[in-house]
Point group: C2
């Protein structure tokens, strides 16, 4: 399995539109400092899957036929907006695995085009070729799944957007050693908002789940700046992710 | 007044994802042949307005403070998708003039961020500085306005998405000479579908309204190819628009 973060930002991203701070100026000038819509690319056995589809350039980056499926965490715009254009293509359908959500987003259900939505049941594993995927409920303002992905002896989990973890989800994650946990960490320590972890939350859950490595994602503007100012604050085994980072295998 | 088309395509655009036809291959290789989300930029008296906001790169193209307002024709995704990211910025609110539409699109009303929606009444003119704008109902599957824009003796109309024109809209447009009519023309001649003009419709309405110039926009894949194969089919006074084209003043 290879997992690459395509985007590591929250819905606003870095640079934040209209913000003149030093970090935003630097991100405007340097693509490697940008944070775009939180999503990742999973490659396994010659197949390519996306975790969320908020990137704006999916049609350019993934030519027709190169995507074997999409795992959607939920239907908020910053996680699905790349589908609005992609759907109108021609060719083989693209399967989209997702939580059950009556609303979906905008007119995606009404006009799915080449997308084929497959709602999944919580905790019921399904197979993508030889990869076993288990949808795990998260704590968010819309029905949201994290995904536990298992192949041979490797176990990785992708967990965003969430505030903390529901107990059954935590129990399943903790039942065997995780190689990698990619985890929502949007806000500054002490900044409590519903729907997303702050750094305190993320570190608590890193300690409870105890994966070999935790990579923080969905990082907001203020946390991004704070992490740059406090580069040694993250304990061993915890990294702040960045766009285009290959996070698995662990280097 | 200066009016530039930013995008001249339908929701699928050119190239069409997954299509291997000659025209799509050419559009993949050459940005000038692409058709992106139908929208335009209006400049008048040092102010900049957008007609629709479906372009994906609004935050890069229009730095904070450079947009004085947005005229939305309607809330279909390909006309508003650029707002999903733009809204999370910081700075002065951006006024968005639009039809009344209870649904809006996705969570734009719930989380407007820096956007300030101002629903307008049909046929009731409003002022943007010295520009008089009159919202004109169109025939589409969602509440949709075209806009008649008048400044001194100049009159231009932007009319998409629509199938034909409602009689009161046509009456108002025909009541005085139009300098420019930008008009929905999505489909091949003879291809009748609700919500969008085909070329027959567009030429009929060009003759009825009789502007100095008609520019076709929202051009779909099949019509684009057909127009390239039939370059002399359009009568004097009718042009097929393209992305980035300055359509007013008429050259």
């Amino acid at each position: 399995m290879r997992l690459r973060l395509l985007g590591s930002g929250d819905a606003a991203g870095m640079p934040l539109y209209g913000c003149g701070c030093e970090a935003c100026d630097a991100a405007s000038d340097s693509p490697v400092l940008r944070r775009t819509a939180c999503s990742a690319q999973l490659e396994i056995g010659g197949r390519t899957y996306l975790l969320d589809a908020g990137q704006m350039s999916l049609t350019q980056r993934f030519p027709s036929g190169s995507l074997d499926g999409i795992l959607l965490t939920h239907f908020h715009v910053d996680h699905v907006q790349g589908l609005f254009h992609l759907r109108w293509g021609v060719g083989a359908d693209i399967p989209v695995y997702c939580p059950e959500d009556e609303e979906g987003c905008a007119d995606l259900y009404k006009h799915p085009g080449m997308l084929c939505f497959h709602p999944q049941q919580a905790f019921v594993p399904f197979m993508l070729d030889k990869l076993q995927v288990t949808p795990l409920p998260l704590n968010h303002s819309k029905p949201t799944f994290g995904y536990l992905m298992m192949w041979q002896r490797e176990r990785i989990a992708y967990l965003t957007d969430t505030k903390g973890l529901p107990s059954k989800t935590a129990e399943l994650l903790g039942s065997d050693k995780l190689d990698l946990m990619v985890l929502d960490c949007s806000h500054l320590p002490g900044c409590d908002r519903p729907g997303h972890n702050n750094l305190d939350d993320a570190l608590v859950w890193h300690n409870i789940i105890a994966p070999r490595q935790t990579v923080l994602t969905h990082i907001g503007h203020d946390l991004d700046i704070w992490l740059k100012a406090n580069p040694r604050v993250l304990p061993d085994g915890v990294l702040a992710g960045h766009d285009e980072q290959l996070v698995y295998p662990i280097s």
